[in-house]
Point group: C3
Amino acid sequence: MKLSKIAKIIGAEFSGEDREILSMNTLKDADKTQVSFVSNSKYVKDIAESSAGAIICDASTKDAVPSKSIALVVENPYWEMAVLSAYFAPALEDVDAPEAIIGEGSVIAPKATVANGAVIGKSTQIMAGVYVGSNAVIGDNVILYPNVVVYRDCKIGNSVIIHANSTVGSDGFGFATNKLGEHKKIYQNGNVVLEDDIEIGSSTTIDRAVFGSTLLKKGVRIDNLVQIGHNCEVGEYSVFVAQSGSAGSTKLGRNVVVGGQSAFAGHLEIAAFSTFAARSGITKTIKESGKTFAGFPLMDHKAWLKLQVKLAKLIK
Amino acid sequence: MKLSKIAKIIGAEFSGEDREILSMNTLKDADKTQVSFVSNSKYVKDIAESSAGAIICDASTKDAVPSKSIALVVENPYWEMAVLSAYFAPALEDVDAPEAIIGEGSVIAPKATVANGAVIGKSTQIMAGVYVGSNAVIGDNVILYPNVVVYRDCKIGNSVIIHANSTVGSDGFGFATNKLGEHKKIYQNGNVVLEDDIEIGSSTTIDRAVFGSTLLKKGVRIDNLVQIGHNCEVGEYSVFVAQSGSAGSTKLGRNVVVGGQSAFAGHLEIAAFSTFAARSGITKTIKESGKTFAGFPLMDHKAWLKLQVKLAKLIK
Amino acid sequence: MKLSKIAKIIGAEFSGEDREILSMNTLKDADKTQVSFVSNSKYVKDIAESSAGAIICDASTKDAVPSKSIALVVENPYWEMAVLSAYFAPALEDVDAPEAIIGEGSVIAPKATVANGAVIGKSTQIMAGVYVGSNAVIGDNVILYPNVVVYRDCKIGNSVIIHANSTVGSDGFGFATNKLGEHKKIYQNGNVVLEDDIEIGSSTTIDRAVFGSTLLKKGVRIDNLVQIGHNCEVGEYSVFVAQSGSAGSTKLGRNVVVGGQSAFAGHLEIAAFSTFAARSGITKTIKESGKTFAGFPLMDHKAWLKLQVKLAKLIK
C-alpha cells in the first residue's frame, strides 16, 4: 500500500516522497517496507533505533522519529494503528491459491476442509470436521482430531497431536479504545508456529500473533481448556496443565511446569525449569531458573506453605 | 396448551374455566397467556403484581395469587416447573420452516449447516463446520469462524465476529432437585441476543436464557474460554478477558472490564465502568460506578494491595 | 503381542517361556494376559498381589515380583511403559469394522460422522458436525448437539444430552519424562463411560482413561468449560459448575456439588453429599459426608468465612 494512502486512512499529513509499505510491525522489528507506531511512553526509547519506513506517532513523540523514517502524526496513534490493521488483514481464505498439497500416506477425512494453499505432510491424519486454513503448513505424522481448527498461515511441525475442538491461530485479544469507551479491533496479522513433537488437549485455544508468531517449541505439552495468548513463546518441553493460561507476549524458558488453573500476566519472561503449583498467578518476570512457586500474588512455594500455617492460626 | 392439560401434567387440581397457555415466564414478565411459578420465598412479593394466566405454587403461597390468575397448587413448584418446561421446548430443528434466506454477497461454506427458518444478512461469511439453528437471525458483515455453533432462535447483529469452536445459545445450567437428590432438567426456552459490533473469542460459551434473552450489548469484547450464564446482560463495550465467566442473571453496565479468570456469582448488578483485576470473585452487587476491585472475597483494589503487604509481613 | 517382543521393545532381558500379552493394566487390575509396571515406591506393596503376566520393574523392585509373573527389568519402568503403550494403541478408526448400526427413530445429520463399528440407540439425535468414533455405543433418546466429539470405544447411556463443541474421550494428560527433560506420550487406551440421564454443557472435556474407564454415573450434571481428568469417577447426581475441573483418578461420591472454577487434585476420594463453594481447591481426601467447604487450601466453609473477617480486620 502506498504510504500516501496510509496517511489518508489515518488522517495524517504527508508530503514526502511516496513509498510502498507491505505490512505493519513493532518499532523493534519493522524494516523500511513496514509501518510501525508508538503509543506508549515506555516504547519511546525504541523510536531512534527503529528501521521502520514510517512511524505513526503523536505530536509529543514525532521529534524522536529518525530521519530515515517518515513520521505520521495523529492524535491517537494506537487507535489509528487499529484502523490501519484492517487494511493489511488478508482475506479469510486465499481462494486464488493453488489447491492444497497432500503428502504421501496422509488421510484427509471427507468431512474435513483443507483450504487452498495449504500443505499437508506425509502420514498425517486429518479427521472429520477439521479445518485447515489457507497457506497453513502441517508436518508429517500429525494427528488432528475431529473439529480442530487451524487458521490460515499457521505452521505445525512433525509428530504433533491436537485433540478435538481445539483452535490454533484465532485472533489475539487486541483492540484500541477511544475516549468514548468504544473499541476498534486490531487485526492479528501474525500466525502460530508449533514445532515438532507437541501434544495439545481438547478445547484449548492458541491465539495468533498480532505481528510475527506465537511460538510453541519442541516437545511442549498442553492439557485441555488452556489459553495461550498472542505472541507468547513457550520453551521446549514446557507443560501447561488444564485450565491454565497466559496473557500475551509472555516468554517461557524450557521445561517450565504450569499447574492447573494457573495464569501468567502479559509481557513476562520466565526462567527455564520454573515450576508453578496449581492456581499460581504470575505477574512478574522470573530470572532465576529451577525454582518452585505458588499463590497469587506469587511467592516461593515454601513461603506459601508457611503463610497457610499462619492463616490457619488466625482462626483458632 | 390448555391449562387443564398443564394441571394434569403437574398433578394440580383444576376446576375453573379452561384457557390456552402459550409459554412459561417469570412472575414479573408473564402475561395472561403464560404460566408462571413461585418456588422461593424471596419472590412471594411478586405474586400479587403478576399478570400470569396461571401460577404454579404450593399450599403456603396459594392465597397470595391474585384473582385474575389461576393457582395451580403442587407440593414442589420448582420441580413441577421443570417437568412442565419440557412440554414447551421447541423441536431441535424446525423442519417445516421455509429454507434459510441468505443475503446478497454472503458466503456459506459447503460444509456449514444453516437450518430451515434461519435468516443470514448481507456480506456475511459462514465458514466450514458452522451450525446456524432454525430461525436464528444473523446480521450483515458477520464472520462465523469454523465450527461455531449458534443454537436455534438466537439473534446476532451486524459486524459481529465469532472465533472458532465457540457456542452461542447452549442451554443454561438449570435443573430442579428433589428430596432424593435426583435432578430434573429445566428446559431453556429463551435465546441469546448479540447486538452489533461484538467480537467473541474461541471456545467461549454463551448460554441461552431460561425465559427471555441473554443479552450482549453493542461493542462487547469477549476473549477465549469465557462462560456467560443464562439471562446475563452485558453492557455496551464491556470486556471479558480469557477464562473469566458469569453465573446466571447478572447484569453488567457499560464498559465494565473483567480480568482473566474472574467470575461473577448470579443475580448481581454491576455498575458501569467497574474494573476487576484478574481472578476477582464478585459475589455482591456494585452500585457505585468507576471503581477498581480485586480479590475473592472482592475488595477495593487498593485494599487488596494493602492486604498483600500485611500477609507478606506475616511470614517474615 | 508376544512377551519376547515386548522385552525387545523396552530393552529388557527375557529368557523364560514366551506367552501372548493382550494389553496393559495397573498392578491391581492386570490378569495373566496383561503386562503391568511398577514405577513408584508407593505401589511396591501391590506387586506381590498382582496377577499380571509380566511386570516392568527396575533392579530395586524385581525381587518383589511373584513367581507367577515375569519380571522385565529396565532402568526407567515408567518411561518404558510409555514406550510400550504406543504398541497397544488402537488405530484412530477401525476401518474394517462393520458399518455403524442406527436404531429406530434416530436421526443422524448428513454432516455428522458415525464411524464403523459404532452403535446408536433409538430416538437419538446426532446433529451436524458430530463425530462418533469406532465402536462407540450411544444409547436411546440421546441428543448430541452440533460438533460434539465422542472418541472411539466410549459408551454413552440413555437420555444423555451433550451440548455443542464438547469432547468425550480425548486422551488423558499422560507422559513420562526422562533425565533430559524430554517427554514420552503414554497412550490412553481406556475409554469414557457415561451412564443414563446425564447432561453435559458446551466446550466441556472428559478425558478417556489410561486403562479402564473414566466413569460418570447416573444423573450427573456438568456445566460448560469443565475438565474431567482420566480415570475419574463421578457419583450419581453430582454437579460440576462452569470452569471447574478434576485432575486424574479422583473419585467423587453421589450428590457432590462442585462450585464454579473449583478444582480437585488427582487420586482423591470425596465423600457423598460434599459441597464445595466456588473456587475451592481440593487437595486432600474427604471421608465425612455432607459437609460444606471453601477456599484454597480447602477448609470448612465456616472457617473460611471467619478467616475473611480476620483478614478484613488486618487492613483496618
